[in-house]
Symmetry: C2
Subunit: 183 residues, 2 copies
DNA sequence: AAGTTTGTTAAAAATTTATTTAACTTTTTA
DNA sequence: TAAAAAGTTAAATAAATTTTTAACAAACTT
């Protein structure tokens, strides 16, 4: 390989590494481990990879790659592919950021909605019982009512978030905010 | 205090704790420490709090409260208030989840857009240089072009995310997804 | 201005999380 | 079906983060 070819290869690798570094750095804000973040960013520039290729490329242990790839599959940023001829499993990175966005945030928000709404509903029932309890003093009734109302108000937000998730899942949000705008 | 009053008070506390637990649990997915998550959730049911009240209520150290409250101020989930008569600082929790949502995700997404777009722009320049380099072999030019195109495609997503942030900041998104829907 | 209270910074301890090594299970193929 | 290869689970180690204790700085009171 000639000197200039080698120099070009190096430049390409350096350019990729800039993007890999940026993606990996922002990704651990998404609740994945550094290993998983690095792995995804690396796979972003690859067609497909096996566990052994991942281990070699990142210089990490195989179980670490196995765990990372599973976590990435959970948030659908990596998918398993069938490659005939090879008995090793092969994986590909989701390269469409729109899809990653949709899956990740919908998952996150649905979890939040479910968990918080359940607690809110239960708590509201409790407050109603206190309000209906004939032995409750006026002060206590007033307090319970105030908390009940605060929770009722918060439900508006969770309903809105539900709508947001639905519009992302259905793709309706792209009618409001087109994927390709002309500025 | 009568038995039944005491029982009602306990029920109110239990009801609040359900919500506090749920909020705290979902919040540490938002990148805050357990102490900060618990603190915010606790403050959600309080008018205002001083550092000493926080320490007493959560049974944690003062520096921990100080750090947590600062972190919560950064993401604008807590604000400092002036209470004349008291020389202690007092803080209030943002109780409008819409506002917390806007500040948190806009901050998060703007950081992601900035960091990744900068890397993408730099990398694209590098790829262009390789492509323009007269000593580059056809294979190398093809490879550089492919990566360049992949990054160009990714910019559509970042532009879309910019639009999403803008529509959240301006409130325009609520024309598309109203805060109070009637189902 | 001295003393006291409040809040912050810095170093240390404790806890949690991430990664690795080693053992084990499953799958493949010969 | 036995041997080998691939992948996963579990325990142990390592690393990073969170929290606390202790020392310090700033602000208020008298």
């Amino acid at each position: 390989m000639s000197d200039s070819t080698e120099r070009s290869r190096t430049k390409i690798e350096e350019a990729k590494d800039k993007v890999i570094g940026a993606i990996a750095e922002t990704m651990d804000l998404y609740g994945v481990t550094p290993a998983a973040a690095n792995l995804y960013a690396t796979m972003y520039f690859k067609d497909q990879m096996t566990l052994d290729e991942m281990r070699t490329e990142l210089g990490m242990s195989k179980p670490s790659m196995s765990t990372s790839v599973r976590k990435l599959q959970e948030i659908e940023m990596v998918k398993k592919t069938f490659t005939r001829g090879s008995r090793k499993h092969t994986y590909v990175a989701e390269k469409n950021f729109f899809r990653s966005f949709m899956v990740f945030y919908c998952q996150m928000w649905e979890r939040e909605i479910k968990m918080n709404m359940e607690a809110v509903e239960e708590a509201q029932e409790d407050f109603i019982n206190v309000i209906k309890d004939s032995t409750s003093t006026p002060e206590i009734v007033a307090e319970a009512k105030q908390y009940y109302d605060q929770l009722e108000e918060s439900k508006k937000y969770y309903h809105w978030l539900e709508d947001l998730v639905a519009s992302i899942k259905s793709g309706k949000i792209f009618e409001f905010l087109p994927k390709d705008q002309q500025d």
